[in-house]
């Protein structure tokens, strides 16, 4: 009891918290500016949000240069290289999403300031997630990033599909949270602590209580919902299709990355000792996710739905290294981080092209891409690069991500790992079959509606396209760029 009564103020490392505080400040600033200037301020909102995200990168850079590992609140909140790399990734993805949103939100006559405030809030949750090494802080970060996302998914409030998207996402999200909380309570009951370090010790120290297995599985299943792993993926396609396209991109990339980041920390810091549970679990779920995601993607006719299922399958690829988490921990983390980084750019790029094309065709059907190469060769080439990257064909970036998976699997060795490797290989081929279904009308078919006016790419979309295209190609030709960050993030997450 004395411990509880004698409250000492935890020491705060302001430098370590600077990114979160900057983000919070800009989120608040947007709201205040909106209240003061009202309608006149609309034009400045995306600019403010963008500046906020870039400004947040500054303290991350200084922290990275500083290089010391900072731990607060009894190890519940850690700022190390792993968290910095992922924070930067979240912010850059967020910035690209803001670029994608500018024209869409403005022309759609939606609320603008609230949109950007919510997006920054959600990003704040993600940035916090990458530092959370405690069940409670993981949960807080998760809710902070999810709740704004529920609202963003329903942003086209006039459209029934968008409402459905938001509601479905919300219900499934809350359900997942409940399952996860139950699992967390079981884990806490066994370990007597919420910090990952202690949990790892307690789980490792002897008694193989079956409750531990239940607790671990429930927590993992909760996050399996978040990263839309099969069989917990059913919300994803409807939500992705109904939500405004920039929000879909945000969910497919940033939100999924956040779920993966949480999984990395849970699996590699807290649960690694129970590899008898986590490795078979992830083996099964990754094999299922990529195969089912790919097979259903084959049948899609709507580009956003296709990208949604492709995203599910890509999520399955990302889960592959978890299946060898204990056998090759360093390689596995490296593989996931590298995959996340490359995936962010190639997938956001693909969504940017979808947005740019939809501005002219007003359609999401794959058929509407017929003859794109003839009237918008630049966009067609860009889309080709992104799809090739998603399929994993050199020299576009994605090959190195897939390569990382194979590397982790073979480093772990053994028959099960090799079998999973072959499943990945087969899925790579299936995946190309549906990416080719987008490539084919673009390149091989004449324009269906005879409208050959070129597509006007707005400045913001052009910028988003340039960034994603350059990054995707650079990662493919010089994978060392992203490989370095993968390598850096390994050491710290495993506790050095």
């Amino acid at each position: 009891m004395d411990v509880l009564l004698a409250f000492t103020r935890p020491s705060l490392d302001w430098h370590a918290l600077a990114p979160e505080l900057t983000l919070l400040a800009f989120g608040t600033l947007i709201t205040i500016v909106d209240i003061i200037w009202d309608d006149r301020s609309k034009q400045t909102m995306p600019t403010l949000a963008g500046i906020g995200l870039l400004a947040t990168l500054v303290p991350i850079l200084t922290l990275a240069v500083d290089g010391t590992e900072r731990s607060m609140f009894g190890g519940a909140y850690v700022v190390d290289d792993f968290s910095l790399v992922l924070k930067a990734l979240f912010l850059i993805s967020g910035y690209i999403v803001v670029l994608m949103s500018v024209d869409y939100i403005r022309e759609g006559d939606y609320y603008e300031n609230e949109y950007y405030t919510l997006m920054l809030t959600s990003l704040l949750g993600m940035v916090m997630m990458s530092s959370s090494r405690d069940l409670v802080s993981v949960f807080v970060a998760l809710e902070l990033l999810s709740i704004p996302a529920y609202m963003l998914a329903a942003w086209r409030k006039g459209g029934p599909r968008s409402n459905e998207a938001g509601l479905k996402y919300y219900l499934m999200g809350v359900f997942a949270s409940a399952v996860m909380l139950y699992g967390m309570s079981l884990v806490y009951g066994l370990a007597g602590s919420t910090t990952f370090d202690v949990i790892a010790q307690e789980l490792g120290s002897g008694s193989s209580n079956p409750i531990a297995i239940l607790g671990i599985l429930f927590v993992l299943i909760g996050f399996a919902f978040k990263v839309s792993a099969v069989p917990f993926h059913t919300w994803a396609p409807d939500t992705y299709e109904g939500a405004p396209t920039p929000v879909t991109a945000f969910l497919a990339v940033a939100s999924k990355t956040a779920g993966m980041v949480a999984l990395i920390q849970l699996v590699f810091v807290a649960f690694l000792v129970r590899d008898d549970v986590i490795q078979p679990f992830f083996w099964l779920i990754s094999a299922l996710t990529m195969t089912v995601g790919n097979l259903i993607a084959l049948r899609q006719t709507n580009i956003v739905r296709l990208l949604a299922y492709s995203g599910i399958a890509q999520g399955g690829f990302m889960l592959v290294p978890f299946a060898v988490a204990a056998d090759a921990p360093a390689r596995a983390i490296e593989a996931v981080v590298i995959y996340l980084a490359i995936y962010a750019f190639m997938n956001l790029g693909a969504f940017t092209v979808v947005l740019a094309v939809a501005r002219k065709t007003r359609s999401g059907e794959i058929d509407s891409y017929s003859g794109l190469f003839q009237y918008a060769p630049g966009l067609a080439v860009a889309m080709t690069v992104f799809l090739a990257a998603l399929a994993g064909i050199p020299p576009a970036g994605g090959w190195f991500a897939k390569f990382g998976l194979f590397r982790a699997l073979l480093d772990a060795g053994g028959g099960w790992a090799a079998a999973l490797g072959v499943i990945v290989a087969i899925n790579t081929v299936i995946a190309f079959a549906y990416y080719a279904r987008v490539l084919m009308p673009m390149w091989f078919q004449p324009v269906t509606d005879g409208d050959e006016r070129p597509i006007v790419v707005t400045g913001a979309l052009g910028a988003a396209l340039t960034v994603t295209l350059l990054a995707t190609m650079a990662f493919g030709v010089l994978p060392g760029l992203v490989g370095h960050f993968g390598e850096v993030s390994v050491l710290s997450a495993l506790g050095g």
């Binding site: 064909i393 090959w399 490797g421 290989a425 490539l439 084919m440 994978p479 370095h484």
Partner: protein, 520 residues
Amino acid sequence: MEATGFDSWVLSLTVFLPLVGAVVIMMIPKAYEAEVKLVALGSSLLALIIGLYITIQFNYGAAGDLQFVVDKGWIDVINSRYIVGLDGLSLPLLMLSLVTVPLCLIYSWNHVPEPGNTKAFFILLLILSTGMNGTFVAQDMILFFVFFEIVLLPMYFLIGVWGGEDRRYASLKFFLYTLFGSALMIISFLALFFLSKDSAGELLHTFDMRVLTDVAGVGIIKSTQVWIFAGLFMGFGIKVPMFPFHTWLPDAHTQAPTVGSVILAAVLLKLGTYGFVRIAIPFLPDAAVSWAPWIGLLAVIGIIYGALGCLAQSDMKRLIAFSSVAHMGFVMLGIATLTDFGINAAIFGMVAHGMITGMLFFIAGSVKERYHTLEISRLGGLLKSAPRMGWILGFASMASLGLPGLAGFWGEFPAILSAYNPGAGMPEETFRTYMVIAAIGTVLAAGYLLWLYQRTAFGEPPEEFADHEIADVNRFEWIAWTPFLVGIALFGVWPNLIFNVTDDVVAGITASVEAIAAGN
């Protein structure tokens, strides 16, 4: 030994000059078609000139060693390096690739197939060229893999955009087959990376192909070696293509535009056989000995199956495509014997098949352009309506069926002969049976090629084309075809031009196979 000064740049230049050309063309607006063509031809010719410089500077006394080596850091995190180098095995194939691309550009100079768009067509050909040249000089497995894959997308688009009626099906089939093979191949590469040990038993963790050739798989247990070889076999075997993975080839060839077929036949298929000789066999000689009888079996099935397939075709282009399956069967049989003689013959066969079948596809393209059909039953009398083209077709057919004195002979005949006495540790009876079957294959080859020639070139021109003016070989075709025609004759009468270059490398490979077999 690493090259210095200008010599350290030459290989990279031959690889990347076409890519630079492609980038420059992207900047040129579509309307400036003449400039687009000149830049494309210029960059590929420049690459060829540097290739000729390499051929002259090459030290033929040390053809077994890598020359013009460059070894620079690339992807440090995975210990993969930018290593390029050239030895007697790479040189003929690199030159074949360097020669083929400008010829294709010249051939398509004024008639890019429907739906036009010279700019995009030439860009794709140049990117393709970078991938092919790079594969033949890469000496790091990851670098090799990247180049090996770069060729996929351009070829996919060449078939899919400029191809025939079934082009969508054919292009996708081509892509999925190859992708499947290369996905398994990369797994094998990684297994080699993680499992290879040096003679002291230390794990090497390297993608350096020179090192892996030196250690020759020692330290990897046999059963694992056999599995790794299986992955490599899928990767390279699909590309060759070997029976039963050949089914993408007839579709791709038939639907591809003319120069697409030419490049596919002349260079792309060689990436597979080159992979066997450069990677699969030297890295894992022990597994190669176990696999060789099965490879030989698939090779002879391919020979007979391809030949029977040819006899059943009614379309000239499809017939030539099936003949490719048969000819690559001879190449693979030569490789499977694991003898000096057989592998030399196989490399010769790669170059010869590249020129001869490339030539046949060129002619098929020109016939199609004039008659608007390749239906053999509707053709005829080519020797009367376009005598020069008729003679060239005859020349290429003779070369293809292996007439002594022309290049095709030196690929086929020694390959069959080498099966009489296969390498150490291999079942003699089996290979002698293969030899007999392969010999029957040559008879069938003579059958289908002569039959093709008779039906298309002899007799009177058919009535439906009686009123048509069938133009004979034009200026662009002469320029594009002459190098191949000269090559076929030259290497036919003077095969040592190639054998002398390749023999040192092959001797090194077979020596390591024999050392392993002796150790067992």
